[in-house]
Assembly symmetry: C2
Homo-oligomer: 254 residues x 2
């Protein structure tokens, strides 16, 4: 049996407002969940400032390391929107005014409203493929393995949902959660041994404090249902041996 | 007058759970706001998986580029907690069992509860200085310019608040926000010219949609009050010239 290919991705969040604490990013969680569903492993995310050298370096480091790179932010009409220029520079490509993007903006804006600032939103590296924006028209684009998306969450989500058919995923990642009111340090030895017996799974331990009691959720992730089921059975036995009750999924309440 | 020194930082969020979409990170926003208050510019944030090579590389890239690095996550007692080992490896230092950390754990746990897994939480690179954990005892640590903090938000926040006196900030970053119901593309030309006249300020434009109308918030950031005031006055004039009303701060409602 051949191993299913592992497909990896990075997300690059571009914008001073995230780094200053003004804006709380919500795009990462959406992309993380969406990529997981497609069988694409999100291996890294970065938040970088609206600084050309920083963006160019991050794009080049990430596109070399991962199968896909998704950027969010910096594609509006104002002077601090520099993502398209930076991606062109990272690829060593000319920045052009994409004719189809211009046509879309011309259909969208009323006469006299499509000024030079708004036309900048039609700039892409030469050879880019547009990414549709069903919310506010101005498109994102794909160049090589890099997908340039908007930063406004509703637009970013619509762009990402629309381009899913272009993305080739690997084996879907399946996940199962078992929780228990047991200290992480108490279960750690047995849990570590379980991880060693299931090296093909990724077993995570996430502590919580609910109703005045400490506990932890254990997440089993992998590509084969039978292996996850086997590990979950052993995990439940381990929890019982420590005098606690296994809870399927996350515990209720907070 | 000598230029105030610019002090920079990066945040490294360690954990598969953020990248899989299971957990939504809240630590970045807290650190971003706290660093800004201290006059430290957060220039980059990264989320990396619980994978040794990834963590070592990210630590080394960030500690070379920025004055401070703050890591969150991966310092618990389970097998997936590998931050201390990785940071030691990144610095080329031996991983030791820190005597003061052991003493704190011994005082915290009831007899018989301090097993080998929990003792792992006392491991640090040789020469590390402890970071207090007033919530659950197991400390973080500082080695060189890298601060290793917990991932659980309440613990991370207490650790960060406690180590603030160790951090030398630069000139505090002051910020002022003016908003208006005006299209970003409409104000973009004038806003770009304003940025050129105030190269010492960082002027950001953040669109919003409130009560059925489009608008944007313009954030002026810099170190000199007089410059920010001057730019804000010009910005209000610009907004009025476009037929809109300047709003101090963010607009009410959603």
């Amino acid at each position: 049996m051949s191993e299913p290919r592992i497909v990896t991705a990075a997300v690059l969040i571009i914008g001073n407002e995230i780094l200053s604490g003004r804006t709380r990013d919500v795009n990462l969680a959406y992309l993380a969940a969406g990529l997981t569903e497609l069988g694409i492993r999100l291996r890294e995310a970065r938040v970088v400032a609206d600084v050309e050298a920083d963006i160019v370096r991050a794009v080049n480091e990430c596109r070399a390391r991962y199968d896909y790179v998704f950027t969010t932010g910096g594609i509006g009409p104002t002077h601090d929107d520099i993502t398209a220029e930076c991606v062109a520079k990272a690829f060593g490509l000319k920045l052009i005014r994409h004719p189809e993007a211009v046509a879309r903006l011309e259909r969208h804006y009323e006469p006299g409203m499509l000024n030079e600032a708004r036309l900048r939103m039609a700039n892409t590296p030469e050879g880019a493929i547009l990414v549709d924006n069903p919310v506010s028209t101005a498109p994102g684009f794909q160049i090589g393995n890099v997908f340039v998306l908007a930063g406004v969450p509703s637009i970013m989500q619509a762009m990402f949902d629309g381009l899913k058919p272009r993305l080739a995923g690997g084996a879907p990642v399946l996940s199962r959660t078992v929780s228990a009111f047991v200290g992480e340090g108490t279960i750690a030895p047995g849990l570590g041994e379980l991880q060693q017996r299931y090296p093909d799974l990724d077993i995570g331990s996430y502590p919580f404090f609910r109703g005045g009691k400490y506990g932890a959720s254990f997440v089993l992730r992998g590509t084969e249902t039978a292996r996850i089921d086997g590990a979950a059975t052993e995990l439940r036995t381990l929890i019982v041996s420590l005098g606690a009750d296994p809870i399927e999924g996350e515990p209720a309440g907070r």
